[in-house]
């Protein structure tokens, strides 16, 4: 049995995203009307009950985040929809923008109404350029129908949305780097002395949310929170869009209830491993996520169970690797990514990635030393704890979990003991 669900993904391929009429026929903007009836306080408490956590990776409570933003005073306040989606193996936000752009827009309007925001930005990565104008078109249609602009649905809310393009930098998915880049600077993360919700874009209050987080809000309000939390587990409520890919028969973005097992995801939904091969490992949450061995596929896909095994949901990426892949070779592709994407601002990440690359290359070619294994682990831990932003802090996750679960693969690539004086 295939346990995919249709809450956030309900409208996928069900309507023409260039037609707002078709979206309305499917019940579009009903959640916004309901939101206006509920009022900001009730929306916030509903989101808290829903257990919705940020789907951009950091998994912070959306209800609390919105509450914090709502309490910040300001005549001009921003909402940024983070559609940078640069995490390798992640593409679910693309599905949302491509197949249900109005839902994302509706979620943003509800966020604006709740927090009293005036200006919205959708920051879409340059690599999704073919979607920029489609989303702009959807915004234009929403405006024509009075869902954007002045005094939206008589609620007194004035709110507009603009599309801004990224320019090919993974680090710009990090909220402060993203803000720097909207301000016309090179996107290096900022020192966060105050929260972005207080001082973000142009120094003004700014709420940053992932595409999926925003798109989850309309269905939660529409179906009612009680209905929504019937899905999922006690501590991981609701559903999640996953990006299933790699050596799997049916790659794609799917919506699953939290608590489904990894086995169900890979075999029932993904149709199993390509060419009848055996599963070897998974990488969860993208390049910055953990590597876990095949023997763990009966664990539940939810925040708490994954954490117990040193993994996390992250962006929702599930990368499947078959028996023919060497862990050390795979790590090299992860490392290539991070060395290219490190912004160079801080030493642990800039130099750490350089050193990890050198050592991993020795493991790939099979002339690593015993000391290399110790050193690489030490460097990885320094990066994890001392890097300035999430990029450097999570870059060594794959390596550290690989050493934990596949130590033998590293030993096999060691050809000597380097004598130290």
């Amino acid at each position: 049995m295939n346990r995919t669900v249709n809450i956030i993904s309900k409208n996928f391929k069900k309507y023409n995203p260039e037609s707002i009429e078709e979206y309305l026929e499917l019940g579009g903007f009903e959640a916004l009307k309901k939101a206006i009836e509920m009022g900001p306080q009730e929306i916030i408490s509903t989101l808290k009950t829903s257990g919705l956590k940020g789907r951009g990776g950091a998994a912070f409570s959306t209800g609390r985040k919105w509450e914090y933003s709502a309490n910040v005073k300001g005549d001009k306040k921003f909402i940024i929809c983070n559609a940078d989606e640069g995490e390798p193996a992640t593409f679910k936000d693309r599905y949302l923008l491509e197949y249900d752009p109005f839902k994302v827009i509706e979620g943003m309007i509800i966020a604006a109404y709740t927090t009293g925001s005036t200006d919205g930005y959708i920051y879409i990565r340059e690599e999704y350029k073919y979607l920029h104008n489609k989303v702009r078109k959807a915004i234009e249609l929403a405006e024509k129908h009075g869902f954007l602009g002045k005094n939206i649905l008589g609620s007194g809310l004035n709110f507009n949305i603009k599309v801004v393009s990224g320019a090919g930098a993974y680090v710009c998915g990090e909220s402060t780097a993203l803000i720097e880049s909207i301000e016309g600077k090179s996107g290096r993360p900022r020192l966060k002395l105050t929260r972005t919700s207080k001082q973000g874009l142009f120094g003004l209050p700014t709420l940053v949310n992932n595409v999926e987080t925003l798109a989850a809000v309309p269905p939660i309000l529409e179906m009612g929170v009680e209905e929504y939390i019937k899905y999922g587990t006690h501590t991981s409520k609701g559903t999640k869009l996953i990006s299933l890919c790699g050596n799997v028969n049916k790659p794609g973005a799917y919506e699953v209830p939290f608590g489904i097992t990894l086995r169900e995801i890979i075999y029932d939904i993904g149709g199993g491993i390509k060419d009848g091969k055996q599963l070897k490992f998974l990488q969860l949450g993208g390049a910055s996520g953990a590597i876990i061995p095949a023997k763990l596929i009966d664990i539940k896909y939810c925040y708490e169970d994954l954490e117990e095994h040193g993994a996390s949901v992250g962006s929702g990426a599930i990368l499947v690797a078959d028996e023919t892949n060497k862990v050390t070779h795979f790590l090299k592709s992860v490392q290539d990514f991070f060395i290219h994407e490190s912004c160079g601002k801080c030493t642990p990440c800039r130099e750490g990635n350089r050193q990890l690359t050198k050592i991993i290359n020795r493991f790939v070619t099979g002339n690593a030393s015993v000391e290399d294994l110790k050193t690489v682990e030490k460097f990885a831990n320094v990066m994890k704890y001392a890097s300035f932003c999430g990029l450097g802090q999570t870059a060594p996750t794959a390596l550290l979990t690989a050493i934990k679960y596949f130590p033998v693969e590293f030993y096999q690539q060691i050809d000597r003991i380097r004598k130290t004086s």
């Binding site: 999704y128 320019a167 790659p251 990488q283």
Partner: protein, 162 residues
């Protein structure tokens, strides 16, 4: 460079782009991307960077800070069509090397090179979110994946005369 000094047509296009952004220096990243898309060699020539800086009232060094930081903005000329092959994790598992070999054979250049006629540049890219159709490559803004050798050749051919 000199040809840009005198290329009035390009200057007019740049002016229109700057105007559409209200000469807002905060929008410099998007302005540069848009200007680049109008330059056949897919880059921001020095004269253009200087011009944009002057028009937006920001130092050229700031324009270059942006150009060099973002990998989608180039400071050196590229081919008319930029072919980018993903070699991030998913495409590695799905053997991007097979696509690379076909592309190199078909274009008769190696990764990182530009064809003599200036028509194509071939280069690696980080994941561009097409992992569901991996191994994948991009030509300009269009994404291709799930391909056979024959189909890749066909696709390349459609760009030859453009």
């Amino acid at each position: 460079m000199d040809k840009f000094k005198v290329d009035q047509e390009l200057i007019a296009k740049i002016d229109r782009i700057l105007e559409s952004y209200d000469y807002d220096d905060n929008s410099v990243v998007n302005i540069l991307l848009e200007i680049q898309s109008h330059i056949p060699e897919n880059y921001i020539p020095e004269e253009v960077a200087k011009y944009v800086g002057i028009e937006l009232g920001i130092p050229t060094s700031k324009v270059y800070d942006v150009i060099t930081f973002f990998s989608a903005i180039n400071d050196k000329p590229k081919g008319r069509h930029v072919v980018q092959l993903c070699k991030s994790s998913v495409c590695r598992l799905n053997k991007y090397q097979t696509i690379r070999d076909v592309l190199e054979e078909e274009l008769k250049i190696k990764m990182g090179e530009t064809t003599k006629d200036g028509q194509f540049t071939l280069r690696y890219s980080a994941c561009f979110g097409a992992c569901d159709i991996s191994p994948a490559f991009r030509i300009d803004d269009k994404v291709y994946g799930n391909l056979t050798k024959g189909k890749i050749k066909e696709i390349i051919n459609t760009y030859r005369g453009l």
